[in-house]
Symmetry: C2
């Protein structure tokens, strides 16, 4: 039985998350019971929502229990199976968490899914053809409901969600403008991800300055906004929203550490008759097949080629995770396990 | 031809609105052209939206032009008609503005409507069976979409919108909790308007204190909120919203004077997957017949008996209007003209 290195949540952050909140431990993988499957993880997914889970409460999801393996999406290969639907060698996606191996009770619906890696790389099932992609799809299709010719804006534009959002919105005939941190990300957004324009928010000191840049990039105003960050960026976008605009609120990463994050111009919701709606994609499982089908086609046909930031080895997970929270990643943050 | 006293917007407010922003003038009513109607106003309606119209721009509606009669709803009696569908003696509702008489081009659809005063008092067409009533109806029925057993909250609870909201929500099997200023208004809300509870926001110094009172009044949390005021009250309600709650944003009277009005906990929109939507009822004319039918029935059957604050005479309009903006009115603010 192989040795399994795992990362546990050891204690909760007070303010920013720290590497010392986590603990690396090792144990042997247990013998399988009937209908269980042993998966060797090839990639771990690191996502902003995990930061929310680290807090005691008030997050939008259940808190991550202390002393247990950190939650997270994984792709890997079946190495042992006592379940008739899985065979060693199967490529699978699941929620194995921050560890090298997971034992899966494969009878639970949706807990482990075999995937085709002929046309789609395995790691994409953690990004464009996984939870982040479906997140972009749900916010765009079900909340923003775009019309051809409208202008869509997304923050964290080069991330897994932002890049999928751009491809989905372009496919619907929209102008798509990104907001990202730094000239490299902005250049990449336009040259590789299909954005019509991308604004480097780090160049602007306050919401009003950023909103002027948005006015240039969005000469017809903003009809739909996909919110990943909150804070100054949300204020700046609100100032440029058109009447009857729609804002899908998926994340407010700027406030995950508990810093106050006020919205300075809520009256604009009334003035412009906006709809602002929060959502969590895991509560809308019914749309996943439709969304994954479109996203898989976009990836397989080369219309969505999201970038990945890949750290190596289980020990690198905490640092890679904390870096992602600060925007140090460039594209979907993964950890590759050998 | 009778003398017509009129109130014009003379200059725009800098900060709070003042009586000196208005000017009272007199003129003779002009001779009627073909298909025109002369209406003698019996009641003028004073509504918070008028404050927004006084500003240069950035309001949700076109600015009121300087030097013209202030906009506003009116009920009155036809005194002269050169239109075949109107006869002297007809009781009518229209948008005659802050003046004693109006000349109406009666061919324009919807500009003048004959009303039945057998079962419904004429003044109610400016309140419960008029724009404020339809405003409550639209926010409740089309944005909040209440389910029986859910808890609804409305601010400015004893006003024209709030009282209609309560009757409409009770008719749908909801618990209805009001927020109002002062013990008299709160007592009236519970004893006369059918609220299950009403909270006097003036007793609480900040959003957290008010939210504790809301917790007591709303033991199952808040599913729907109809926002008339903004500021601290909105923050307090947000803290108590249930998952998948809906907020209809109709007014933010607290911010009409230009004071900053930040929303301190926008992350709750995400945490609780809320929908926050602004609207202006005049953009949804298609629903008015359905809404007015229900509201008229509620008034005619005594299930909605909203209170009115009635000032007397055209010269009293500015003071009555400014008082309403500060919450000095108790129920729908009207001005009666002799």
């Amino acid at each position: 039985m192989p040795i399994n290195q795992q990362i546990l949540l050891d204690n909760r952050p007070v303010g920013p998350a720290l590497a010392s909140n986590f603990k690396l431990v090792s144990s042997q993988t247990p013998a399988l019971h009937d209908r269980q499957v042993l998966v060797r993880h090839k990639f771990l997914s690191l996502d902003p929502y995990m930061r929310g889970r680290m807090n005691e409460s008030k997050s939008y999801a259940a808190a991550q229990p202390l002393g247990e393996v950190m939650i997270g999406g994984t792709v890997g290969e079946v190495v042992e199976s006592r379940h008739p639907q899985f065979t060693p060698g199967d490529q699978v996606v699941g929620m194995g968490g921050w560890q090298e191996y997971s034992v899966v009770n494969a009878d639970q619906p949706g807990v482990l899914r075999k995937v085709d890696t002929t046309h789609i790389p395995l790691s994409a099932y953690l990004g464009a053809v996984g939870m982040p992609g479906v997140t972009a799809w749900y916010g765009l299709v079900k909340i923003i409901e775009p019309q051809a010719g409208e202008t869509m804006v997304v923050s964290a534009a080069t991330g897994a969600v932002g890049s999928a959002f751009a491809a989905l919105a372009k496919a619907r005939g929209c102008r798509v403008v990104g907001i990202a941190g730094g000239p490299q990300k902005c250049q990449y957004a336009v040259e590789e991800l299909g954005f019509d324009a991308c604004i480097d928010y780090k160049l602007y000191q306050d919401a009003h300055a950023l909103s002027k840049a948005l006015k240039v990039a969005c000469p017809d105003g903003i009809d739909g906004y996909f919110e990943n960050v909150g804070g100054m960026v949300l204020d700046a976008v609100l100032i440029r929203m058109n009447a009857f605009g729609r804002i899908a609120v998926c994340g407010m990463i700027a406030g995950y550490d508990g810093a106050p994050l006020p919205l300075n111009y809520p009256a604009l919701i009334l003035v412009n008759r906006l709809k602002v709606q929060g959502f969590i994609v895991s509560e809308h499982m019914a749309v996943w097949p439709e969304a994954l089908k479109e996203l898989g086609t976009l990836v397989a046909t080369g219309k969505l080629r999201p970038r990945e930031s890949v750290a190596e080895g289980i020990a690198s997970v905490p640092e890679a995770f904390l870096g992602m929270l600060k925007g140090k990643n460039f594209g979907k943050q993964l950890v590759k396990l050998s």
